[in-house]
Amino acid sequence: MNPVPSFEPLKNSFQQKIFSLRNIFSTKQFILLLALVLLSPLSWAEEALPVAEDPAIEKRMLALSEDLRCLVCQNESLAGSRADFANDLRREIREQLKANKSDQEIIDFLVSRYGDFVLYKPPVKPATYLLWGGPFVFLLTGAGILFFYLKRRRKQIEEPPLTEEQHRHAETLLKENKGNNA
């Protein structure tokens, strides 16, 4: 799959919208409308409607699409992307959720259509054993090497006991140090 960003359609619809906006309002009307809005008391203001019709389904959809990849984007999740592809797929998920499908069923459906690539959490299968097991192997090997290295190291360094002279030297150093601190 070539990750060509689908900006063209987005741009076109965007420009159309700008032009249609200009067609609907003349400047005069716009200013009038703006004045009306600005002068209107706050009680006039309506609470904006959520884009989603059903908040419960929207929440589940978002949770699901967070871990799914937008296939035409450059590494964006379905939840984050606003590309047409992502919009369509989110709609698809919403519809399937409405049809009472479980999360797993939807994921299975998407994988059968787009392959494992759509999952941000790669499935555990022979080809990914190394991926999922790797961190444990690293940790165990590292800890093992560290342990044996430290053990061997302690044996290797048998620190020679200090001679009488070194003791005196150390004491003067420590005293000097205290003196400086005081």
Binding site: P3, P5, F7, E8, K11, S13, F14, Q15, K17, I18, L21, I24, F25, L33, L34, V37, L38, L42, A45, E46, E47, A48, L49, P50, V51, A52, E58, E66, D67, R69, N75, G80, G115, D116, F117, V118, Y120, P122, P123, A127, T128, L130, L131, G134, P135, F138, L139, A143, L150, Q156, E159, Q166, A170, L173, L174, E176, N177, K178, N181, A182
Partner: protein, 674 residues
């Protein structure tokens, strides 16, 4: 003419780099003083020619010379001047030129600030850096020449990616590269030490400030990148575990381990070979990161394979650098001394355990980043490795590391007692558990993950308090402030950086736990309320930027019915590329961000608008800044400023004093020097 001059300067720089990479090293090996003395002037000459080359490239961009392929592809005559300059490092070729230019800047810095080092050492260090430079300049000249001409010249350039047309993106890459390249100094010191076999506490002391400065740049670079993603990508995320981000995070993880390991090598003479290995790893990952991001291998393995010249060169270069340094390591490291003895429970072993965790984390992130590439190139199928994987791996690894972060600074060098530590830290532990359990209620809802994150953060903060209290208790007489003033900067710098981690964790935890988001259809005049704020949409109007057209929304923010500010998010379309960009409006605050982004236009002047309330999100970057500031403070510590006068005293001290005066080594040497 100017691009040809740049090209010529680049060739001259290559010749000087070859000289720098050979003669001083040979001279140091055979005691040829005139060759050793070559190192500094050659470094400075190379810098001058690379500066000329870079200046020529920047000039081509600024003057819209579309007969240069690189300019035609990455710039446009409408592009504002600051972004035309930034476009010089916006492309693959330009960024590599910036990389090698920075390498030469670091080399000049080493040549200037190394008057107190033995000449042979400097010659070897600069020689190694010269060899790295040879590789990069060759790569530029052979496969990615930024000065290649385009015949016939283009009438207009195809523009810089609009995502990069942002002040954050102007400084982010140079910062990041300063970090990447900075690790080359640590690497060069390590290789020089392996070659000469001279690796003692003095060596660690020389190489430590350089490493810390590189780490500071990398920290700031990553922070800027994350901040940029937050306000530029338009949906308010700040870290995506994207391969590009991972590429910069890997050297950071290993660099962090290196900074800590160097501390042990300097103070206790231990971990020498481990420190050298880390320095090699950090720089290798910096190289890997540069190439991963810049070669296009991440976007598509196949696109990369269609242009094999670059790929083969990169692989060969990586194999030569990593392979030869590891071979050298395997050959020389066993001859390096072991350093002081320490017990299984001691500050040394805790730092070593923390190092292990950081390295395992780095290894896992590397595995997750490369795995899809490897699978794809072996035709085993395409998979994506994203946030769920990295979070599942990273969090469990960092939890014990953060626990150790609290213990380490309180444990004694050499031999610590676990029961004693537990006794000293029981209050810190109790306080952090109770606060972590209660805090979520203050935020409105108790969530286990929030509580857990806060526990980690409060544990760090509480142990910092305990550590400072104990330190003051042990530092003689005098009032609180005299005692506070008596502690070294490096002591404070450590706690400051650790505090940065705590602040960072608080930010991450709270924004993940309590962020609210609303995706609404806003009619003109309609409102949406969230987190105690009311947003009123007054419509959107068209505006033109220098090289884009935009619709700018006008949104009043009200609190308790009073208007506190206007937010103006934009939806832009760039003229040259036709790319649409969301430019959110953000109201930054200490305890929360308000974040508004325009979605799609609807009928009657209504818009889909996304509104976010993000509690504590800025603490994420504030935490990073604290870490960086901690690093800066560490570099300004007295012992680095004093070293010029006390070189001889110091070497003597290293020889006999280190082993004897155990706990207060830092203080003892400091006292003697003063």
């Amino acid at each position: 003419m100017i691009p040809e001059l740049g090209n010529f300067a680049l060739i001259l720089a290559l010749l000087l780099a070859v000289t720098q990479g050979t003669l001083p090293i040979i001279g140091a090996a055979h005691g040829i003083h005139s060759w050793i003395a070559l190192a500094r002037p050659v470094v400075q000459g190379q810098f001058v020619f690379l500066a000329i080359a870079f200046g020529c490239l920047a000039y081509s961009f600024v003057s819209n010379d579309f007969s240069v392929l690189n300019v035609a592809r990455n710039s446009n005559s409408e592009l504002p001047i600051q972004y035309r300059i930034a476009a010089s490092w916006g492309s693959h070729e330009g960024s590599l030129l910036l990389w090698v230019f920075m390498l030469s800047a670091w080399s000049v810095a080493v040549s200037v600030f190394s008057r107190h080092l033995p000449d042979e050492m400097v010659a070897r260090v600069l020689g190694v850096m010269g060899l790295v430079s040879v590789g990069f300049i060759l790569f530029l000249l052979v496969t990615s020449n930024p000065f290649d001409r385009l015949f016939p010249a283009a009438l207009e350039g195809s523009d810089l990616n609009p995502l990069l047309q942002d002040p954050g993106m102007v400084i982010h890459p140079p910062m990041l590269y300063m970090g990447y390249v900075g690790f080359s100094v640590a690497f060069a010191f390590a290789i020089a030490a392996l070659i000469s076999g001279q690796m003692d506490a003095a060596w660690a002391r020389w190489s430590r400030p350089w490493t810390t400065v590189a780490w500071v740049f990398l920290t700031i670079g990553i922070m800027l990148g994350s901040w940029w993603a937050y306000y530029e990508l338009g949906w308010g995320g700040w870290w995506f575990w994207d391969p590009v981000e991972n590429a910069s995070f890997l050297p950071w993880l290993v660099g962090t381990a290196l900074v800590h390991s160097l501390a042990v090598t300097e103070k206790r003479g231990s971990f020498k070979s481990w420190t050298v290995l880390l320095a090699i790893c950090a720089f290798s990952l910096s190289l890997l990161g540069t190439f991963l991001v810049r070669s296009g291998v991440l976007t598509s393995v196949h696109a990369f394979a269609t242009d094999p010249a670059r790929g083969v060169f990169i692989l060969a270069f990586l194999v030569i650098v990593i392979g030869s340094s590891l071979l050298l390591f395997a050959w020389r490291a066993p001859k390096v001394g072991l350093g002081g003895k320490f017990d299984l429970v001691s500050r040394e072993s805790m730092l070593l355990a923390n190092n292990l965790l950081l390295m395992v984390a780095a290894g896992s992130v590397l595995l997750g980043t490369l795995y899809p590439l490897i699978m794809d190139s072996l035709d085993l199928g395409k998979i994506s490795v994203g946030p769920p994987y990295f979070e599942a791996v990273f969090v469990p690894l960092m939890t014990p590391a953060i626990f150790l972060m609290g213990l380490g600074p309180l444990a004694r060098w050499k031999q610590a007692s676990l029961p004693e530590l537990m006794l000293r830290l029981r209050w810190a532990f109790g306080v952090s558990v109770i606060t972590a359990l209660l805090m979520p209620f203050v935020m409105g809802e108790w969530k286990p993950l929030v509580s857990f994150g806060l526990l980690l953060a409060f544990w760090i903060i509480a142990t910092i308090f305990v550590s400072i209290r104990q330190r003051l208790h042990n530092s003689g007489q005098g009032g609180l402030f005299t005692k506070l003033a008596r502690q070294s900067r490096s002591y404070y710098s450590m706690h400051l950086a650790h505090l940065g981690i705590a602040i960072f964790i608080i930010g991450v935890t709270l924004v993940n736990g309590y962020e609210t988001e609303k995706d609404v259809r806003m009619e003109i005049g309609s409102t949406v309320t969230m987190g105690g704020y009311t947003f009123r949409f007054n419509g959107a109007s068209p505006v033109s930027g220098p090289n884009y057209q935009a619709m700018r929304g006008d949104i009043d923010v009200l609190r308790n019915g009073e208007k506190i500010r206007v937010m103006q998010p934009e939806k832009r379309t760039y003229n040259a590329s036709g790319m649409a960009m969301t430019e959110p409006a953000i109201d930054t605050g200490l305890l929360r961000d308000l974040y508004v982004a325009m979605g799609e236009p609807l009928e009657n002047g209504a818009w889909v608008v996304r509104v976010y309330h993000k509690p504590f999100v800025d603490w994420i970057w504030f935490g990073c800044l604290l870490m960086a500031f901690g690093g800066i403070l560490a570099v300004t510590d007295r012992r680095y400023r004093l070293k010029i006068h006390s070189k001889h005293v110091e070497t003597a001290a290293v020889a006999d004093g280190k082993r004897v005066a155990n706990n207060n080594t830092g203080l003892a040497t400091g006292g003697r020097k003063a």
